[in-house]
């Protein structure tokens, strides 16, 4: 959207930035679900995005869930009301939270209030997102194995004055007690700055050590 709405490649508008961030979250969620084996491999299909082969789920329910989520996130981003998006992976049997993929968002309030635009190269943004996707893919080397069936959920941290849509409800933050944390790269569109952090439950082997 930024490339369509900008007169030159370097100009970023609020709408374009919100679209970039929501699209990034959609692809990142798919990548996490594939790499953490929340859904079977055969339910994913390969597409080209950010100069990398990305995997998208073909499960209709997950697709519709993520598309609804993406549209709502885009709306909140344009309003400057979204603070964080957290993808939570829980055990299906016990409901225990095993991993939290934390995407913290900082919005330039001047852009939201005054509607000004910023300048940044699309290529650089794509490079930054590419680095994050590579890190997500390589996270399987240090994250503990998820041996049991898992489900995922998405939490949105918003401002208190946001009107809650009827398809959303208030929730507890689904925290992990004494987590291990790994900070990943982030990217910046000059309007929205996204930082990524993954916190996971200490593996039993690590605790014994």
């Amino acid at each position: 959207m930024a490339s369509k709405t900008a007169a030159a490649k370097d100009i970023i508008t609020l709408h374009g930035s919100a679209a970039i961030v929501s699209e990034f979250f959609c692809y990142a969620a798919n990548s996490i679900l594939y790499n953490r084996a929340v859904y079977p491999e055969e339910s994913f299909v390969k597409v080209k995005k950010y100069g990398l082969p990305m995997l998208l789920t073909q499960d209709e329910s997950v697709k519709s869930f993520l598309s609804n989520l993406s549209s709502q996130i885009s709306e909140w981003l344009e309003a400057g009301k979204l603070q964080r998006v957290v993808l939570v992976i829980m055990s299906k049997a016990t409901g225990e939270v095993l991993e939290r993929w934390n995407f913290r968002i900082e919005t330039d309030s001047q852009v939201v209030d005054k509607g000004v635009s910023r300048e940044k190269s699309d290529k650089e943004i794509m490079r930054e997102i590419q680095a994050i996707m590579r890190q997500v893919a390589s996270s399987i080397t240090y994250l503990p194995c998820l041996d049991e069936p898992c489900v995922f959920d998405v939490l949105a941290y918003t401002d208190t004055d946001v009107a809650v849509p009827f398809t959303w409800v208030e929730s507890d933050p689904k925290l992990i007690a004494n987590p291990q944390m790994v900070k990943l790269h982030g990217f910046d569109t000059k309007i929205h700055k996204v930082d990524t952090l993954v916190s996971y439950k200490n593996d039993e082997w690590d605790e014994e050590e």
Binding site: R84, L155, V169, S199
Partner: protein, 720 residues
């Protein structure tokens, strides 16, 4: 021997004569050997006189010779004396020269020492002034820091007092909490009593239900026996019915044969009557058989109901077994609820549970603010302590420098004293030399030649001395300038050193601040990573229809729908039975009807809710569509489809409200945040294609394109 009365002096003309007396020379008077003619007269006298004079001359000669030898000796002595005097004079002269040189050198040294003394005094004064200034500055800074320290101590005491008050408040709150926990326990006991009562009542109801069940079982057994009997009766009746039917057919045959034979006798009438009576009897039996059949059906229904009741009884028993666990959970929930309610009542400024969160967040904020303030105060205190240490160090340094300056001053004083002593010695030597020089001058005053040479020497010495003094003055000036330059450089170096020290201190404080900030950042990052948030600013939301819930909801919906179908079928059967049966199973019917009514109500509410959701969604969608159409002037139709590469895309078809035909449609594809216009018959027209080229391809602005198109369509409609 020298004649007492020497003869008058005669001029000596010959060489044998004695020399004219000049100075201190010895004049020997002799008689002339060639007397003159004047002498002839006195020739007679002269013989005696000659004899006398010869003796006299011999005597005189001897005397003269003696005198001469004496004189020669004296002259030699005088010569030696003169030589010795000359030697003494030269020695004295040399000594005078040496002493003069020494005098000059000592004068030079004295002047240099005076100059050095002056310079040193000036230096000392400057250093004293500088050290005094620094000392005064250090004292002032110490005073300021002491004032600041006092104020910070006051602040700290205030903070400590506030901490103490907050601790007291916390203690009070803890006491209140303990009181609340006591009240909670009392409430819990009361609730447990209530629950025990309820349990007893539940047991009673369960026993009542058991009794009802037993009664129903007995009735069912009796109904079974009745049904068995009725079944046997039914079979008998069926047999009879079959026989009757068979007889009926035979009778009809007979009747038909009778009618064909045309024989109408009274016996036939009787036979007909009997057959009719048998027929009626058979019909009554058939009716009874039907009744029995219906009763059998009722019995079967009762059996089914009995089974249901049995299953319900089992379920009730299982639920009864779960009752204590439920009671425990109820206890816990009631405890929590009571505790929250009591908290609500006891916490000031709280009227509903939502206020508690706000209150806690406000209290947390206050605690955080107070801890931050305490942290800031402690950091400022540490900073002031560091500054105080630094000033104390500076003070110590200043004291050390003052001590050093004092030592220098003492050393300089000793130098000055030493120089003064040297100066006194030199002046004494100078006076001694002056006295010697005056003595020499006096001793040499007889010889005028040496005095003139001394005067010229002295003049030359004085001129050279003057030149040297001038040179010395120039050197002293240069020296003073160099010393000034050195002092300025030293001051600059000291100033730079002070700056360096202050910068080092500032760097240390900045390093401390950076460490503190780094620790705070790491703490905040860990909190962020952990997921902590402030309830005053942030709200956590999740979608209602998550995937697991959707699947579960679907399953529950399917299960409910199956149950609904079953209950509907049962309801139909029961209604049929109810219409046909009598009082048998009235109580069971009432239970069943009650439950059926409940299920019907639930179904109705669920259906209503579904309808409401559908209507609301449809309303909102339609409102949104209408609003979009009215605001932007385009009717938008959304359509999902899949591209050949498998990626889903959404197609939007826009038709302007000012369009003059249905073909004037714009088509856009939206996929993953990218919107692209599709070519169609309308967009490939001349003007439209131009606008697409300009607004979309060149300027990359679809809103500008649509706005321009709207304006053109509007103008066309209004003008034409």
């Amino acid at each position: 021997m020298i004649l007492r009365t020497p003869p008058p002096k005669k001029p000596r003309s010959d060489a044998g004569g004695s020399s004219t007396p000049t100075g201190n020379q010895l004049v020997i008077f002799e008689d002339s050997p060639l007397p003159a003619p004047l002498q002839t007269t006195s020739h007679e006298h002269s013989s005696d006189q000659h004899l006398c004079t010869y003796q006299c001359r011999q005597m005189v000669k001897s005397d003269v010779l003696d005198a001469l030898s004496k004189a020669e000796k004296q002259a030699q002595e005088y010569q030696t004396m003169l030589q010795t005097l000359n030697q003494n004079y030269t020695q004295a002269d040399e000594e005078r020269k040496q002493f003069r040189d020494k005098f000059l050198y000592s004068e030079q040294e004295l002047a240099a020492a005076k100059g050095r003394e002056k310079v040193l005094q000036e230096q000392l004064l400057m250093e004293m002034d500088n050290s005094q200034e620094r000392y005064s500055k250090a004292l002032q800074s110490c005073h300021d820091l002491e004032v600041k320290l006092q104020s910070e101590m006051n602040l700290r005491s205030k903070a400590e007092s506030s901490v103490a008050t907050s601790e007291e408040k916390a203690k009070l709150l803890e006491e209140k909490l303990s009181q609340l926990s006591g009240s909670v326990e009392r409430e819990r006991k009361r609730l447990s009593n209530d629950i025990s009562h309820l349990g007893k009542e539940a047991k009673l109801s369960v026993s009542r239900i058991g009794a009802d069940l037993e009664r129903m079982q007995c009735r069912a057994q009796s109904a079974e026996t009745e049904s068995d009997l009725l079944r046997s009766q039914l079979e008998d009746l069926k047999q009879k019915f079959d026989e009757c039917l068979h007889e009926k057919t035979e009778v009809y045959k007979k009747l038909s044969s009778f009618t064909s034979e045309a024989a109408s006798t009274s016996d036939n009438n009787v036979l007909v009557k009997t057959l009719q009576e048998e027929l009626k009897r058979c019909e009554a039996e058939v009716r009874e058989a039907r009744k029995i059949k219906s009763q059998q059906l009722d019995a079967e229904l009762l059996k089914v109901k009995l089974l249901e009741e049995k299953s319900r009884r089992e379920r009730a028993e299982s639920e009864l077994s779960k009752l204590p666990e439920l009671q425990i959970s109820i206890d816990m929930l009631e405890n929590e609820l009571s505790s929250w309610k009591s908290l609500l009542n006891n916490i000031p400024g709280v009227s509903c549970p939502d206020d508690i969160v706000m209150k806690f967040s406000a209290l947390q904020k206050e605690v955080l603010d107070s801890t931050m303030k305490i942290g800031e105060a402690s950091t400022r205190f540490n900073q002031l302590e560091a500054a105080l240490d630094a000033t104390q160090l500076g003070k110590q340094n200043a004291e050390i420098e003052a001590a050093l300056a004092k030592e220098k001053f003492v050393a300089l004083k000793s130098d000055v004293k030493r120089i003064e002593a040297m100066l006194a010695l030199v002046t004494e030597e100078k006076e001694q030399l002056k006295a010697v020089v005056s003595e020499l001058r006096k001793s040499d005053s007889d010889g005028p030649v040496s005095a003139t040479t001394d005067a010229t020497l002295a003049q030359s010495f004085e001129s050279s001395l003057a030149k040297k003094e001038n040179y010395l003055k120039e050197l002293e000036q240069e020296l003073s300038q160099l010393k000034d330059v050195n002092n300025r450089q030293r001051d600059e170096i000291e100033h730079l050193n002070d700056k360096l020290v202050s910068e080092a201190r500032r760097m240390k404080s900045l390093e401390r601040d950076s460490d503190r900030l780094r620790s705070e950042i790491s703490l905040l990052e860990s909190k962020l990573g952990h997921g902590d948030f402030s309830a005053a600013n942030t709200r956590v939301l999740r979608m209602v229809n998550t995937l697991g819930v959707e699947n579960e909801a679907k399953q529950t919906i399917e299960a409910l729908q199956a149950e609904l179908q079953k209950t509907k079928e049962r309801l139909q059967a029961v209604e049929e039975l109810k219409s046909q049966s009598g009082d048998a199973g009235k109580l069971v019917d009432s239970h069943i009807t009650g439950k059926i009514a409940q299920l019907k109500e639930q179904i109705a509410t669920l259906e209503k809710r579904e309808e409401r959701y559908k209507t609301v969604f449809a309303d909102r969608i339609s409102v949104f569509r209408r609003a979009c159409c009215e605001l932007f002037g385009y009717k938008i139709v959304m359509d999902e489809h899949q591209r050949p590469n498998g990626i889903p895309a959404t197609r939007f078809t826009l038709q302007s409200i000012y369009a003059q035909s249905d073909d004037e449609k714009l088509e856009f594809d939206y996929e993953s945040g990218n919107t692209s216009i599709l070519d169609n018959q309308y967009t490939s027209q001349g003007e439209i294609a131009k606008q697409v080229e300009i607004f979309i391809r060149k300027f990359n602005s679809i809103p500008a394109f649509t706005a321009n198109l709207t304006m053109e369509s509007f103008n066309r409609r209004t003008l034409y």
